[in-house]
Symmetry: C2
Subunit: 340 residues, 2 copies
């Protein structure tokens, strides 16, 4: 295996380029602290469609289409679209790519999907198997609540550990084309393993996913010989307040303490505490729009030189939960660097 460093980390010798991105969010996200970083804020939670599921698909299509256009490319130039969402049978992604007419690699990584797709696309572009690939992930508060929890009409109460599913889609174009200006470049991939600490509470995803994040981060740092201080920012996907604090503790225990000023979580970035989301944001869309909106803009502004993006996923299903199974967690990490 020619591109491995350490035991589990994959080096991308050609440093594939992120050449376009877009983040489209809903009304609540548009009122949050990152509102200036989004390409579009859609006040209508149906986005002009008949159902929330079709609206979520419209978010994905719109984000992918805009990311491709912002890269100066056409749909025909895209060798593969890859991505997914939280809906059964990744309905949002399938219906979105049906309109793009590109080859499609459907993924399911729960809320880790944006990192999973960027890891795969970066390897395939690095190796010359794809020239341009578009990575997209989405979630929608209304589709997630009714699929995973209760119909919205019930007005269920939420415990303090619960997170708020982000409505939105983020999309990024990964390319081998040296002529296109790069927002940043991907340099290393550490694929996630499934870690299950026997948590069963579907209202406490942060605690279920934090051990997987610690596992991936530990392996990444060990393999690369880097320390947390080598990154301007380490950002997890949607651990929220509970999982964020737990990861700080877990990394402290592993002898790799994180500097809280350089570690953040997309679930904490996207909403302000006065937006009453309890433990923060969640959903595939949470890390997708924070990366494709906020983080990429900070790269472009020269505020970030090196970032580790590590989206986390809780691989439960309503069925596995009803059958008393615990929640398996996963976290994929990709290292991003400014183009220099």
């Amino acid at each position: 295996m020619t591109n491995r460093i350490g035991q589990h980390t994959i080096l991308l010798p050609n440093r594939p380029r992120i050449v376009g991105s877009a983040a489209i969010v809903g009304k609540k996200e548009g009122k949050g602290p990152l509102h200036d970083d989004f390409d579009q804020i859609i006040d209508d939670d149906l986005f002009g469609e008949e159902t929330w599921e079709k609206a979520e698909s419209r978010f994905q299509y719109t984000a992918a289409d805009l990311a491709i256009r912002k890269a100066g490319l056409t749909h025909e130039q895209i060798d593969a679209a890859m991505g997914g969402d939280l809906l059964d049978q990744i309905m949002a992604a399938s219906l979105a790519v049906r309109e793009l007419h590109t080859p499609f690699i459907g993924l399911y990584g729960a809320c880790s999907t944006m990192a999973e797709s960027l890891c795969l696309a970066s390897m395939l572009v690095d190796g010359g198997y794809l020239h341009h690939a578009v990575c997209t992930a989405s979630s929608h508060f209304c589709t997630a609540e009714r699929q995973y929890r209760f119909p919205l009409e019930y007005g269920s109460q939420r415990p303090p550990t619960a997170q708020w599913t982000v409505t939105g889609a983020g999309s990024a174009v990964v390319s081998a084309d040296e002529k296109l200006p790069a927002i940043c470049r991907s340099t290393h991939v550490t694929l996630g393993r499934i870690v299950d600490m026997a948590i069963k509470d579907a209202n406490n995803m942060g605690a279920a996913m934090a051990p997987a994040a610690a596992d991936t981060l530990h392996r990444h740092l060990t393999d690369t010989g880097r320390t947390p201080a080598d990154y301007d920012l380490i950002i997890t996907g949607d651990l929220g307040r509970v999982g964020h604090d737990l990861l700080l503790t877990l990394m402290q225990e592993r002898g790799m303490p994180l500097d809280p000023s350089r570690y953040s979580d997309c679930g904490l970035e996207i909403f302000s505490p006065d937006q009453d989301t309890h433990a923060g944001g969640s959903g595939c869309g949470c890390s997708a729009v924070t990366l494709c909106g906020h983080i990429f803009r900070r790269f472009q502004a020269g505020e970030l030189q090196r970032v580790l993006f590590m989206a986390t996923g809780a691989l439960l299903s309503p069925t596995s939960n009803q059958q008393g199974d615990t929640i398996p967690g996963i976290a994929h990490a990709i290292a991003l660097e400014a183009d220099s």
Copy 2:
């Protein structure tokens, strides 16, 4: 893009090796014409578990574990497990990989999953990003019926176009290790596009998927400059009788007629007509066990030199169906050659 030939096909210059495989099936499949080609036939549809979903996961774990062991490898040597199933949130795959403890790339390609995973693994192994990868896909008659159609207890009638979801899992290990004996090698990948011919009948998947198979096959043959006669066998995933015959017609119309003696469908291979499955087998497991059991054994026996494996998927969900949406189809193709 260094490894592209034609417009859409990807050449694998290092010809990654399939070094291990396993096919584990249920009782009905074990009574079919391929019964001698399976590694294990499990008479208990619960496979010792409490639920059918957990049983399906047990099929996946057992197939992956056996394929890895047959390759002479250990779980620790596997750089990534990739695959999926038809269950919401790919529950069978997630729970199976939780036991494997390998990095995990979760996929959703409906019944095209076995081909999707082999395409991805072959590219990643070819490029030196993974050394050994295990690809697995499964389905289970009982989990699919209750998720997609009706509870089994209803004893619903099935129309003649309906197919029978295969209970089973197939797994294959893709490797770059030149010292391991190869069952066959992968040489070309053609990723599928979503094709939707506006079919809404979830009991007629073959018709929904055949146009996607025609699209991929047409692009593959055009890109490679090959004709159907260049393959000893072109085998689709689970088009069944209706889709099989439709693909013959569609390829005739495109001026690339298939020789019926060299074109088959896994859904027709796996059951005999007297097993009363109507239009044949279906499900991710259908193409997975036919490939990993039957086809790979024919390679090993020297009966096949070059095969195009093209698993097809119907990217519907119960929700999209209830919302009146049509069924998007997809087909991924991978060319396999004897090791010579």
